[in-house]
Symmetry: C2
Subunit: 216 residues, 2 copies
């Protein structure tokens, strides 16, 4: 594989994926796509820029996605009037689709990435989805990626394939891979609140600390 598209948020999973594609798969020409969609933690983009530079062979495209009416309002990640909850404050029976879920966001990201890849003549898109332990999103699962591929496979000339190699791993597994590849996790961002310092209590911070702690 000479060329690939990588969805890069600047978080731990997608950064590890970038290094995996570059170093383990040896892809020479990587198009990393990162999205500004109104997320509170837009500071993750600075990390994406840094990592794209660090890994080499990567051109970073920053895209602004104007979300359809109502989408931003529906999520604590994007609605200024909705606080990001601590993980501990999310009821167990809401953790399958918590308030931090953004309606159909990842299908939008992958669909735009697939259009880009097809137009550029690139056959492979890499997606860093990873199943969390304590909460989850339907659009981060292996089945989701497989069904997206079932759609894209219908393309009669230039089908694009989505690869989600971490989707059945734990975050700890992902970090183990990243450490062997020299990923600098201090230059990744996880906290959903997006303030100057990570809060340490939101779902994303808790998962991050567990994954890093288990590896140290």
């Amino acid at each position: 594989m000479e060329r690939a598209v990588v969805l890069l948020s600047g978080g731990m999973d997608s950064t590890t994926l970038l290094f995996h594609v570059r170093q383990t798969l040896g892809v020479a020409d990587i198009h990393a796509l990162t999205f500004l969609y109104g997320q509170k933690h837009a500071r993750e983009l600075a990390m994406a820029r840094w990592q794209a530079q660090a890994v080499g062979g990567t051109r970073l495209a920053e895209w602004t996605l104007a979300m359809p009416d109502g989408v931003a309002a529906a999520s604590a990640l994007t609605n200024p009037a909705t606080a990001v909850p601590d993980l501990a404050a999310i009821p167990t029976d809401e953790r399958d689709q918590p308030i931090t879920y953004v309606p159909n966001r990842n299908m939008m990201f992958l669909t735009l990435a697939a259009a880009y890849a097809e137009a550029q003549g690139i056959a492979d898109v890499f997606y860093g989805a990873q199943a969390q332990d304590e909460y989850g999103y339907w659009d981060c699962t292996q089945t989701f990626a497989e069904r997206i591929n079932a759609v894209l496979a219908l393309n009669r000339r230039r089908p694009v394939t989505v690869h989600a190699p971490f989707s059945t791993m734990t975050k700890r597994d992902v970090v183990r891979i990243g450490r062997t590849l020299g990923v600098d996790y201090d230059r990744t961002w996880s906290c959903y609140r997006g303030e100057n310092q990570p809060c340490g209590a939101c779902p994303s911070c808790v998962e991050r600390e567990r994954a890093l702690g288990d590896c140290d």
Copy 2:
């Protein structure tokens, strides 16, 4: 069904669909979505506006979609430097994915529409795809809609369903339905070239004239 999203281009199929949803299904509150994506035939939007007004019970949302780099350049529908060919000039062996195809456009449209519907609490999206006789697009097939639904069905709280009731009909069949519903086809636009008058020779004009001629 009280509420629905309808993808409305201002062409024959989606206009017929709008009338079908409003009159036959009796949906009271329709959100019609129409896209400006750099198409040469953007004059179809004026038709969408007229039809949304004519059918009643419909609010029209016009969305501008910034296409990923390279997508517009890849299609005669959007690249000013690429002429829209006459249907007769498209080689038979290219008609399964002709130069008028826009990379992954319809998956982008449906994905954005599904995000909107989910955020608005609307469960049903209607899509006017119709298989052409002389040429075709993978993203206008019944199988495409079914596989999109297989993705959306994974949503754990608010799955959205795409309905494509015309996807196995001929365009003549669609026009027959529209005539019974009082659709004014003079107020629809098909020509891909988008000049002041329909060219009569592009793929979309040829299909239109055949469908209307067979019904008159």
